[in-house]
């Protein structure tokens, strides 16, 4: 089916992504399934956190699904991606399974990082986490892009950060070098309106995040519409692959949860605001309505996907709560790569622990 996309605001660009896009039935069903999986996975994680089965930091992505799914639809798995700590959705789109993501959250040996990393440190092929230090992932992403250009494989790097991180100095340092050296880097600001508890108006002198790259062309995109995100990403990818250097996308999106599980998320915004977004702009509902009204799927079909997804999440949660914790022998492993085994000091001088690569 053909869909009408909202026109993107552009910065230093002659034109933006196409106003029309084609969505095939297969694509629609796949985006729906992935977004629903992501949504259910995050909600299940909320439950497990409240039961104290997940501990520490847990930054949930529900509401923002169209971003991760739309971006992945606009690039290839052979491309590269890096993001900050709200990373569970991207771990999924980049090839992680719900099982290994949830088992990482519960700190078990079957976790994607064997329980060593936790919520903010999940990695897959061509996915560099999951990064805990706000903004630090942006230079890293440009470095990945440098490697792409250096190795000449026509790959690019998608480099994500939030509206809070957007004011970080190292991001401007990165804009400068990425532009100077024409690195194939798509900078993407996921603007969910709040950096922790600070609204964009209170944090940024300019909230036009798509313009903050100055000499880097930019576009502002409706991040709640998976097709808009996909078309914008395709447009941006084409820009990079043609050797023009970096480009910047601002995705306007929203998170239903607070900043993390320790933030109820209602001291700095109203329940009404959250409810309004849920009822008018939910990414999954919007895709569902679009598919139903264009006769691309039936209500039953989508319900069946919901049931399958629910089962997948239940199975994953079951695994994540029953899989054993990592063995203590693993404590000191993975310090160095490709090194002979070494000794690591324990908590006292008589305790010598073993470390292997």
């Amino acid at each position: 089916s053909l869909s009408e996309n909202a026109k993107c605001d552009v910065h230093k660009l002659e034109e933006g992504p196409p106003l029309q896009a084609v969505l095939t039935r297969e694509e629609g069903l796949q985006y729906y399934r992935t977004m629903q999986t992501m949504r259910r996975m995050e909600l299940k994680s909320d439950q497990l956190y409240k039961q104290k089965i997940i501990r520490g930091f847990c930054h949930l992505y529900d509401g923002q699904e169209a971003c991760a799914v739309g971006i992945e639809a606009g690039i290839n798995l052979t491309d590269h991606l890096i993001t900050a700590y709200r990373a569970h959705g991207y771990t999924l789109t980049r090839g992680g399974t719900v099982r290994e993501i949830m088992a990482e959250l519960t700190g078990r040996r079957g976790g994607i990082a064997k329980g060593k990393g936790g919520s903010m440190h999940m990695y897959t092929k061509h996915f560099y986490g999951g990064n805990g230090i706000v903004g630090a992932q942006v230079p890293l992403g440009a470095g990945v892009a440098l490697a792409c250009k250096y190795l000449g494989k026509n790959e690019l790097c998608v480099c994500l950060y939030g509206d809070g991180a957007a004011n970080q100095g190292q991001i401007f340092e990165t804009y400068n070098m990425a532009s100077l050296w024409k690195l194939p880097c798509i900078f993407i600001c996921e603007n969910n309106k709040y950096g922790m508890g600070t609204s964009v108006e209170r944090a940024a002198a300019s909230t036009d995040y798509f313009k903050r790259g100055d000499f880097i062309p930019g576009l502002r995109v409706d991040g709640m519409d998976v097709l808009c995100v996909r078309e914008a990403t395709k447009f941006a990818a084409e820009h990079c692959r043609s050797g023009k250097g970096p480009i910047l996308m601002e995705l306007q999106t929203y998170r239903y949860h607070g900043h993390s599980m320790s933030d109820p998320g209602i001291s700095y915004r109203t329940r009404e605001e959250i409810q309004e977004v849920r009822s008018k702009s939910d990414p999954i509902s919007m895709l569902k309505d679009r598919m139903l009204s264009n006769n691309m799927a039936s209500v039953e079909e989508l319900k069946e996907i919901d049931v399958e997804v629910r089962k997948e999440i239940e199975d994953a949660a079951q695994f994540a709560t029953t899989d054993p914790e990592p063995p203590l022998d693993d404590l000191c492993n993975h310090i160095f790569y490709n090194d002979p085994p070494m000794e690591v000091r324990g908590t006292n001088p008589w305790t010598k622990l073993k470390s292997v690569s």
Partner: protein
């Protein structure tokens, strides 16, 4: 026996040149490394030979370019990231520690980071407080890093090659005052595959009376002090640490079990430093029972580095300070 005289600078230059030639994934980035030939001329001639792709001049944005270097390492390249001095690495230290050092562990072995951070460390001459700090203790503190501190031209060559070939983040602490110092190098050390293993100290001078442990430029002073002391019949065993982390405690213990006396000598500040770590290990290990006197540290004075020459000279250990400490320890 074939020997040639090579300065530390030239040894570093040759090591980088050979490793750039050997592996296409190796590249150098930093301020002034390309067209300027290096702020201290360590990368002289490399840009002319390898061009813009392999030798990259960066803007003055340490946090940004260190992060870019780490990202490039994650994605399959083997960067050498130069800090004009390690004082400026403080701007980028988050990338060194949180992005480079910890990643292999956090990812449970999925993501390695084969990177070298190199540059001059510690006191220079007349550059004052903000340009004279020693970072051996800061970086030596962190698991996930290897920290190397060469002294001689042979150290520089063999250790830099090992660092570049190592698949892990290596902090390579050079010394500006040593760059121009020539050393005799053996024919063997000129081989393109001459490597010095990271984590192994070297006994530069054998002796029976006291163990003197040092790293970087202070090794020169220890050897000079040892020569003076030898005339009085005191034979020092001078150990060149070569590597800060992992520390070769065994080499130090073996020596102490022979000499029964220990002093450490470093340019850095005393508190929570390299000497402090060595003394703690000796206390905790088999060599403690062999000590006939408390082990002590000779260090830089616990102050920011002053400018005036007389003040600066008295802020770092001098040969007479080492001699004094040896004699005190021996109760001679």
């Amino acid at each position: 026996m074939f020997y040639i005289r090579v300065t530390v600078r030239d040894a570093l230059n040759q090591a980088m040149d050979e490793e750039l030639e050997r592996d296409e994934r190796v590249f150098l980035l930093g301020e002034e490394v390309a067209q300027y030939d290096g702020a201290y001329k360590v990368s002289r001639g490399l840009w002319k030979k390898y061009g813009d792709k392999r030798i990259i001049d960066t803007p003055i944005t340490e946090m940004g370019f260190a992060g870019i270097a780490v990202g490039a390492a994650m994605a399959g390249l083997r960067p050498i990231c130069e800090f004009m001095t390690f004082n400026f690495s403080m701007q980028a230290i988050d990338q060194v520690i949180n992005s480079a050092a910890k990643t292999y562990y956090m990812s449970a072995g999925r993501q390695s980071v084969p990177i070298v951070f190199r540059g001059p460390n510690g006191a220079s001459a007349g550059v004052a407080a903000q340009h004279s700090q020693c970072f051996a203790a800061w970086y030596g503190h962190c698991p996930g890093l290897k920290v190397v501190s060469p002294w001689s031209a042979e150290d520089a060559r063999g250790l830099l090659k090992s660092a570049i070939r190592d698949d892990n983040p290596v902090v390579f602490l050079e010394n500006e005052l040593m760059y121009g110092v020539p050393f005799e190098m053996s024919e063997e050390s000129q081989s393109k595959d001459f490597l010095i293993p990271i984590g192994k100290a070297k006994i530069e001078r054998q002796g029976n009376h006291i163990t003197v442990v040092s790293h970087s430029r202070m090794v020169s002073l220890c050897l000079d002090a040892a020569a003076v002391l030898a005339k009085e019949g005191i034979e020092c065993e001078v150990i060149n640490m070569r590597t800060i982390r992992p520390l070769d405690a065994e080499a130090i213990e073996t020596s102490v079990m022979k000499t029964n006396h220990l002093i450490t000598v470093e340019g850095g500040w005393p508190q929570f430093g390299v000497g402090g770590e060595i003394l703690a290990r000796i206390m905790e290990g088999p060599a403690f029972n062999y000590l006939d006197a408390p082990a002590v540290r000779v260090t830089g004075v616990d102050i920011p580095m002053p400018y005036a020459k007389i003040l600066e000279d008295n802020s770092v250990p001098q040969i007479k300070d080492i001699i004094f400490s040896v004699k005190k320890t021996l109760n001679a």
